[in-house]
Subunit: 339 residues, 2 copies
């Protein structure tokens, strides 16, 4: 296959189209196997007659501490959330640290305390780990890679192939807060003081949704890198069915809206770390909304879209003024080093 | 607890005493739990009535390609070997890449091909992954973090507490080759051309040993960072029993011996990536040796030591000329960025 680039560029890490291309062209061909090829948030394996979810993520966020969180909280939330999106209860995490020579040990200790606190919230523990040190100037303070294992709930029947026209799309609250917080912190913008990252462990709420709605839940996805836009573009592509999103239904705080305007960014493409989208059967939509709103992480939950029978399969946004535009997978990175 | 350092230094990543101190002082206190506290190569969890092994390692080796292997082969071997040391069959790996802007995509493709080849040898597949990109000058080509899950063999009953005086220690072949290869490559030393890394997947041999000898196998450990010295010091410390190693029995090629002399390094402290040590019940020692020698990765296997009833618990080397010296956990790093 013809590669578009000869060298890695930052945008290869943005989680958008260019990341997908890199994975498709330089990574998958070597490793090709049916579990990996699904490219879900987690792999699901058979183990002792049950379904085991297994996932990994590296965190390279800069700065490593920001309002509402830090690289450690991000790692614990991100990895346990990926398990939750596979319909799994998180069981255990691994923690691999790449530390840069010169990092203050007090900083490491703060991050470790944050990892522990996030683990308590997420009801999951770090059971194994590794520590490496690289020379000054070969890293950026610290990089963290967490992996996680979880037990897929027996009730969970999730998959793109289960999505049908008429299904409804929900989100558990306001979008774009994580990405805007980190970016505004980096730019030293004033409004940063009112925004904070939404980084939060979603497994409690996501597991409850699966337990109560059972197979009426078709798919769970968390809109991290590449945001809500990335998720809906992926759903349309993978399910072969169209999506309509209603802009006026998508929760967005005034602070986040203002920050996105100043930065010139589309909130739909910005990373979240404490939000997830659920595709549910139409007759279960109100129940799903009630379950979300009764949970502390879902007070602002909303129905934001639905699957439609239109062909070809596209994700479209119905704007506040009634216009329509296609929502595409962002091409490269909007915001490098956001997670 | 009083920390010896205020900042991270390279030696914190050497796998020796200073790494242990950092983990004990800055990492474990926050995360304290009984599974992690065992600090084994893998955590062992209960899942659906069976034992699930779970492990992680980051790889920061420099250069990323060297005689006998590369960072990708190292990652697959290292992580599947950690599962094997827990008495487990590797089931699946995760692969998290941190790529530096400017890395040649052709290099990434070579490493991916190497990962695939090592996965075939180790009979394990990459089932989930992640890709991040960092700015030029914030990394060093690429860092890889692999995690693995495996099924602990029903026959496996491994643990420091099972070790008894009289038990015998075996190794499956010549030591110090990985560390010396990488270091000589870095120094541009001539003898490098005859040495190559021993990086190899050990699960086939290690699993066979457990299946055939069952509970006569007391412990399996791979002498990676901090080498054979680190393993025996750890065994003495954790089991509370003494060890005698016989220098003249420890396999070491003439090339490796010469390289260690030129570099001024003790082969016992140098990293291996295709060797493991087995502590077995005395009456099973000959059978263990036969199993090892019948396997392609164990042709040079040898009995290199035994547990003794001496107190206090110490690891001692009986030298070729009949002297004795205490073998200690290396303090800091001998060879930075070796894995």
């Amino acid at each position: 296959m013809q590669l578009d680039h000869r060298y890695i560029v930052l945008a290869h890490g943005g989680g958008g189209q260019l990341t997908s291309d890199l994975i498709a062209q330089a990574i998958l061909p070597a490793l090709d196997n049916p579990v990996l090829a699904k490219l879900g948030d987690s792999a699901v394996l058979e183990f002792a007659g049950q379904r085991l979810a297994f996932t990994t993520d590296s965190y390279v966020v800069q700065p490593i501490e920001f309002p509402g969180g830090d690289i450690g909280r991000l790692a614990v939330c991100g990895t346990s959330n990926d398990l939750a999106m596979a319909g799994a209860e998180p069981l255990a995490l691994s923690l691999a640290l790449i530390l840069e020579e010169g990092l203050e040990i007090a900083t490491l200790q703060r991050i470790m305390a944050s990892i522990a606190a996030a683990g308590s919230e997420a009801n999951v523990r770090v059971v194994t780990g590794d520590t490496k040190v690289i020379e000054r100037g070969r890293g950026d303070g610290m990089y963290i890679t967490t992996s996680g294992v979880g037990r897929v709930l027996p009730e969970a029947r999730l998959g793109y192939e289960r999505i049908e026209p008429g299904d409804v799309i929900l989100i558990n609250g306001g979008i774009a807060e994580h990405g805007l917080t980190v970016m505004s912190r980096r730019k030293g913008l004033e409004f940063g003081s009112r925004l904070k990252s939404d980084a939060a462990p979603l497994a409690g709420l996501a597991n409850q949704l699966v337990r109560e709605l059972k197979d009426a839940v078709r798919l769970l996805r968390d809109p991290t890198r590449s945001g809500v836009a990335g998720v809906v573009a992926e759903i349309a592509g993978a399910s072969g069915k169209s999506i309509e999103l209603y802009e006026e239904q998508i929760p967005l705080t005034a602070d986040a809206r203002a920050a996105a305007e100043v930065l010139g960014l589309d909130p739909l493409t910005i990373a979240n770390e404490g939000k997830f989208m659920a595709v549910v059967r139409a007759d279960a939509a109100e129940q799903a909304l009630a379950v979300m709103r009764s949970h502390p992480l879902g007070r602002q939950a909303a129905i934001i879209g639905r699957m439609t029978p239109e062909t070809p399969a596209l994700a479209e946004l119905v704007t506040v003024i009634g216009g329509r535009r296609v929502v595409q997978m962002p091409y490269g990175e909007q915001l490098p080093r956001i997670c």
